[in-house]
């Protein structure tokens, strides 16, 4: 597999930008001793209750408490997502087929390690916990290495696009505490490079799969990627969050939110950029949120 010249050019400019904006995550933030519970920790429109009856029926103190735990969950989801990408990119750096992006991978791994550190700091300082990962680390691609690499970079890109939507919104939200705003902004400032590279990688790695002219494989990929997008959004709905926010019947509450038709519009918005890209590439046939919210809250 030989990387195209166009990718090489993009890589050079991303590496240069990374060098120009290098910082130490360990000294970048002024960590305050504590953050008051009664404040917005997350933009209300990004909460999992937005658009539902609970956005008005829960009192403001409960919604603010919910915003605290959804914020801790959001950063916990980031930590677990970064763990997967660190493992998978490390597995590929300086191996055949990945010679060209390896220089960028060094920057990427360094930056992601820093992100993981400051997200964990936030969770442990202000939430005293990181919500556990529920994922099972099993491969879904068998021994097909081309397929495995494509799926890894597709998952990384989808995850980063979801997170970036939240980072952009919260980085600009002046109602949030300056530290919360800054963490989101700093993450976005690095993440755009990862997204640019991620799109190039996904496009490049999909090419040999497309050339196989295997309709069954394409259908399987379409289904897998759409299901992964839906699963990514489901990770934002954590029963532990509702429990910590003092909302009773946390599993029932989660299922009810996931099945609320009002949430589809939000899910569609979170992934609008990446679904357009994936559809244009021919990787997926439609947005998973164009169908039903059902399947026990699957989409």
């Amino acid at each position: 597999m030989v990387m195209a010249e166009a990718i090489a050019e993009t890589l050079d400019s991303l590496v240069a930008d990374s060098t120009d904006h290098h910082y130490s995550p360990y000294t970048r933030f002024d960590w305050v001793d504590e953050l008051a519970e009664e404040q917005w920790w997350m933009t209300p429109e990004l909460l999992t209750i937005a658009g539902t009856k609970w956005a008005t029926e829960l009192d403001e103190a409960t919604r603010m408490r919910l915003s605290k735990w959804e914020s801790i969950n959001f950063f916990s989801v980031n930590i677990h997502g970064i763990r997967e990408l660190l493992i998978e990119v490390t597995r590929r750096i300086h191996t055949p087929g990945f010679e060209l992006p390896s220089e960028f991978f060094h920057r990427f791994l360094g930056e992601e390690n820093g992100h993981m550190w400051f997200f964990a700091q936030f969770c442990q300082r202000y939430g005293k916990r990181i919500y556990p990962d529920k994922m099972l680390p099993v491969g879904d691609s068998g021994s097909d290495t081309e397929l495995a690499s494509f799926l890894v970079f597709a998952r990384i890109l989808i995850f980063e696009e979801l997170v970036d939507h939240f980072n952009i919104r919260m980085g600009r939200d002046t109602t949030l505490h300056p530290l919360i705003r800054e963490i989101n902004q700093v993450h976005h400032d690095d993440e755009w490079r990862h997204i640019v590279m991620g799109r190039k990688m996904v496009e490049h790695l999909f090419q040999p799969l497309r050339e196989r002219d295997d309709a069954e494989l394409r259908a399987r990929l379409d289904d897998y990627v759409q299901r992964y997008i839906a699963a990514s959004v489901q990770s934002l709905y954590n029963p532990g969050v509702y429990r910590d926010a003092g909302i009773p019947e946390s599993y029932t509450f989660r299922n009810e939110l996931l099945q609320d038709p009002a949430r589809l519009r939000y899910h569609d918005m979170f992934f609008s950029r990446i679904t357009k890209f994936l559809i244009n590439q021919g990787i997926i046939s439609a947005s998973p949120f164009a169908v039903a919210a059902g399947d026990g809250g699957t989409r």
């Binding site: 099993v138 299901r227 029963p239 599993y251 399947d295």
Partner: protein, 82 residues
Amino acid sequence: MIERVRSWLLARNPGVSDISLDEDIIDGRLIDSIAFPELVLFLEELAGRELSLTRETVVALRTLRGIRDTVLAAPHQAAAHD
């Protein structure tokens, strides 16, 4: 309670008519990594407690027997909730 788990899995695998107690649901592709967190949350709801994904729990989660005998029957192995 294990019948609810069997039904949950069958509903997600329309081409499958039955799942034996000892069938490996991961190797048998009845559940994949994408759907796994939803299975864990469903089992937590049934068990009434949060599950800790230790090596032992993950092994137990591979079969209905393991789920019945370990995950759904050992409330002392994880933190209580709700």
